[in-house]
Each structure stands twice: as C-alpha cells, then as structure tokens.
Amino acid sequence: MPVTLERIPGHEERVILSMGPQHPSTHGVLRLVLELEGETVVRALVDIGYLHTGFEKSFESLTYAQGITLTDRMDYLAPLSNNLGFCLAIEKLLGLEIPRRAQWIRVLLTELTRIQSHLVWLGTHALELGAMSVFLYCFREREDILRIFELVSGQRMMTSYFRVGGLALEPPLHWLRRVEKFVGEFPRRLAEYETLLTKNPIWLRRTVGVGQISAPDAIALGLSGPSLRASGVKWDIRKAEPYSSYDQFDFHIPTRPEGDVYARYLVRLDEMRESLKIVRQAMAGLPDGPINADAPHIVLPDRESMKTSIEALIYHFKLVTEGFHPPVGEVYQTIESPRGELGFYIVSDGSPKPWRCHVRAPSFANLQALTKIAEGRLIADVVACIASLDTVLGEIDR
C-alpha cells in the first residue's frame, strides 16, 4: 500500500529512504520518499493523505452555520483565518453586509492569528535547524495570543468565533488591554528572535541559497502567501482584493527577491511587524456599534430578546432546527491566510446545506513545490525546505 519510488536501472547503489509520516520535522503526518545518492536527494516524492478526514464531504451534511466548526480544524494553526474565509464566502453568497465593528474585530483577530501562526512556524523551523531556545520563546508569546483568543471566544484554538453575519459574541470588557499589553511587548520579543537568528552564521549557512525557487516557477506551481512573496512577487490578497475593510488599514507587503529559505524567513518576520501595525490601527480606531448584521433570518437573536419577542423566538427556532436558505448560486471567496491564498468555493442549491464546499488550501499548493525545491539538495536541507513552506497537514489532507 505505501507509495514508493521505483528504482532506476543502473543506479542500484542509491538508497531509497522513507521519511515520515512520524518524523518530527515533517510537521504532522507528512511522508516523503527520497532517493539518495550519498547525502544528496536525487528524487523526492511527497506522500500525503494520512490525516484525511473528509471535511469537504462533511460540509455537505452540515448547515452553513455548523460548517464553521469544521473550518477551525482544517488549518489548526490559523482557525480564525479559516472562520473568516468561510463566513465571508457565505456572506458573499447571501449578499450580506456586516457592521464595521465586526469587520474591524475580525481584522484585529485574524492579524493576531497571523502572528500566532508565524510564531509556530518560526519556533519549529528554528528547532529543526538546531536553535532550540527560539522555539521556547515563540511558544511563550504564542500563548499570550491564545489567551486573548480564549478571552474573546472561550477557546484557545478551535475558536469558531466568526459567524455568518458577524461575531459569536461581544468581546468582554477590557479585552483590548490584553491586546495592548501584547502589542507593547511583542516588538522587543521579535528583536530578540532576530538577535538569535538573523545574523547567526549557522542559521545563515543552513538557509541562505537553500531551496530556491524563481517567481515564474512559484506561480506555475501555484504558490501563494509569504512563500510566493519571498520570490519577489508583490501580491497580497489583503491589498489586491480587500475584504473585511482591509483597504482602510495602512500596511506594506514585505517581499524579497531571493526566493530561498532565508528570504521566506525574512518575509515572515516582516509580516509579523506589519500585522502588529494593523492590530494597532484596529485597536485605535475600533468603531462602536453592533457586532452582527441586522438580518434576523440569518443571525441568531440574542438570548434576552428571545424572552420578550415572539419573532426572535421563532427565528431562533427556525435557524437552529433548519438553518437559513441562501440563494442558488456559487461563490468563490479568497482571503490571505498566514499561508497564502485560502479560497472557499461554495455551491448553493438554495437548501440550508451547501451542495458543495471546496477549500482551496494554500498548504496544498505550497507543498507541491517541495519536490522542486528539495531535489538536488542535501538531505538536511529537505528539513529546512519543508519548514520554510510552512504547511499544515490538516488543510492538505482535509
């Protein structure tokens, strides 16, 4: 059953090595089959599917509102980005405009998600290349962000906080103080990681010039997000096709021309700084107002109104037992997730459950480039290459 590489006649001395699926540096359950000549990788084959749980099939048997909980589990390092993409897709299908306050909170939290996700990437990436302390620091800061998520949504990771039409609940009083504290501290922490890595000669030897990919190759292979921007393509969906009022925020798109592991490292570090800028702006200008669209046939009523209003009670009953009916049609909504273009393609037949929900997972496309960037390199570089693509197996195997 396991996929393997066929030996090429005349090269019997080459070693076929199976790496994974339980290899710590393959980030989950990824399996590689490598053909080695000495320590050089001649051919690489990526074997995925170990985490296949059939999300796309499950979407078809759940109502739109229930589907949100599945999105958390696809890219489990960036649940809020996934919530956002899914909700935006349904809101697009419904033609639903959501209040500014909800949009800004969504922006704030997804940018924190980006930082949090990049922290896991940085920590594990550094750990795999032998820099243990960075891992511990990154997870310390990540914990701060997870606590903010917990404060807001009640969950550290599987948040399901964004709902169709707005947010699940109003964030608690003084939650911004926690965000403020984090935002105040984080630049210093980021500088700390940089002193450990950016000019570290071992780090440079392991990353500069490793796993290079040119911009045309990257586009042909469907790379997106930081991995594409590190090859010099200045494309960020937050700027190109702004959603959730990203056009009202001031930030840059960091790019690097080199396209190697080091460039991907630098781009992600800069992205964390830009995200921090967005979080600051979102905090400073957070509008007042409702957190849910005024659409009683889509958004659940609050519990208080259900005690006094028969309409609210009926709507609640209808929404919980049946769900809402979007118009017949199909939409494709993309967002810039920490890993790249996350797209939701939803086909509606007018019933409360999607006829088809397909997820364009950035990791799926990005991982496909691994063969290209790892072949011809040393086996130790493969580890750096996997880490630099920052893939999450949950959304690859779905």
């Binding site: 033609g95 939409v331 007018g350 088809r356």
Partner: protein, 217 residues
C-alpha cells in the same frame, strides 16, 4: 432531511433553471415576518441569480473559439464561462498568454457532482491574472465515462489538484503525467465526494485487510 434529494443548482446542461422548493424569496425573511416593523432596514437586495456577462475578453474568446462557449454569466462579481471540453486547452492557453489577459495562476481546480444530469460532473477552474488583478471561472461539463484534457502542461499546480479530483470523484484525465489517488490509499474502491457515496460509507474490505479493524466507525 439527509435522504431528501437536493435540487442541483441551475446553469448547467439543459435543466430548467427552476428554483428549489423554498423558493418564496430565499433571502427574504421566512414566514414569521408579519409582526416585524415595516420600516426596518433589511439587508440590501443583491442579485438573486447569475446575470449574463459581457466583456471585451469574452468577445475575443467568442471570436477565437466560435461555438465553444455556451454560458457566460457573472454572479457576485466573478464571471464564469462554460466551455466545450474540446476547446479547454486552447482557451486556457489563450487566457494564460499576455493578449488573453495573463491569467498565469491557476488558483484552484475542483469538481462538482450533479448525479441527475446527463453530464454529471462540472470541472471548475479558478484563474487569476496578476496583470489585471482579476479572477475568472471556467467550467467544463463531462459525463461519467468521458476524459477531461489535463491542464498540467499549462499549470503544473494542476497535477495534485487533478489527482485529487480523480481520487474524490473518479474523473479521468487525458495527458496527466501521474494520475493516481492522492489522499486515499491506492487500493481503495469508490470515490467519496460523489453524491451517491454515503457519508458513512467506506471500503470495508480495505479497512479490514489493511487496518485489521472491523469498522472505522
């Protein structure tokens, strides 16, 4: 509710674009509306159905590939073109080139199953052009025994995407360099994302032989 057959969306092969059962205004409020205040601002009314699409690019395509384009609509700002299978590679090559708009990035390829239609699968391509900052959706309708021309030659990223479609829907491709299952094991029978594949169904024989357990449930 699960076993109740869903009505597939319109816009495909010759089916009447009939709205499904709950048609009395899907986005409008359901029945308990009477008591609501009349002056209340309800969500703005967006288009309820795809509208015909017209653009210079479409004119050019129609000129270059007469008869190949059957349905060009736009819904929620995303144009969608239904193509004849034979014209797919030509149209894609043109769209990828500079004069065709430079749609150099194939962001996504997937399929949708409509078991009641004569041609049950819709293969969906989502293209993106960096030059125009524009997206485009292409559709090809294929029957169960038909082969789809592979676009791997144009966009290498389609390699895994087409393998996934083959894996999940059983759609065959022509000209794919390595068409085999990608997420499920090679020996698996059945294609889970088909509508006639029940959500609890699995390849029991495979599970017993390879995992040594009675059932995955």
């Amino acid at each position: 509710m699960v076993d109740q057959p869903k009505v597939p969306p319109s816009g495909g092969s010759g089916e009447t674009p009939a709205r499904p059962a709950p048609a009395e205004g899907s986005t409008a409020a359901p029945s308990p509306k009477a008591g609501a205040a009349p002056g209340k601002p309800v969500a703005p009314k967006p288009a309820l159905a795809p509208e015909p699409w017209s653009s210079p690019l479409l004119d050019e395509l129609q000129k270059g590939f007469p008869g190949a384009l059957s349905n060009a609509t736009v819904f929620r700002n995303l144009p969608s073109i239904t193509l004849a299978k034979e014209a797919l590679l030509g149209v894609c090559e043109f769209l990828k080139s500079e004069e065709g708009g430079g749609y150099t990035l194939l962001t996504d390829e997937t399929a949708v199953d409509y078991p009641k239609r004569e041609k049950r699968f819709e293969i969906i391509y989502h293209l993106y052009s960096f030059a125009r900052n524009d997206r485009l959706r292409l559709k090809v309708l294929v029957g169960e025994d038909e082969k789809v021309p592979s676009v791997v030659g144009l966009w290498p990223t389609a390699n895994w995407l087409e393998r996934e479609i083959y894996d999940m829907f059983g759609v065959q491709y022509e000209g794919h360099p390595d068409l085999k299952r990608i997420l499920l094991p090679d020996g698996w029978t059945g294609h889970p994302l088909r509508k006639d594949y029940d959500i609890l169904k699995q390849d029991v024989a495979w599970v017993q032989a390879n995992l040594g357990i009675k059932s995955g449930q």
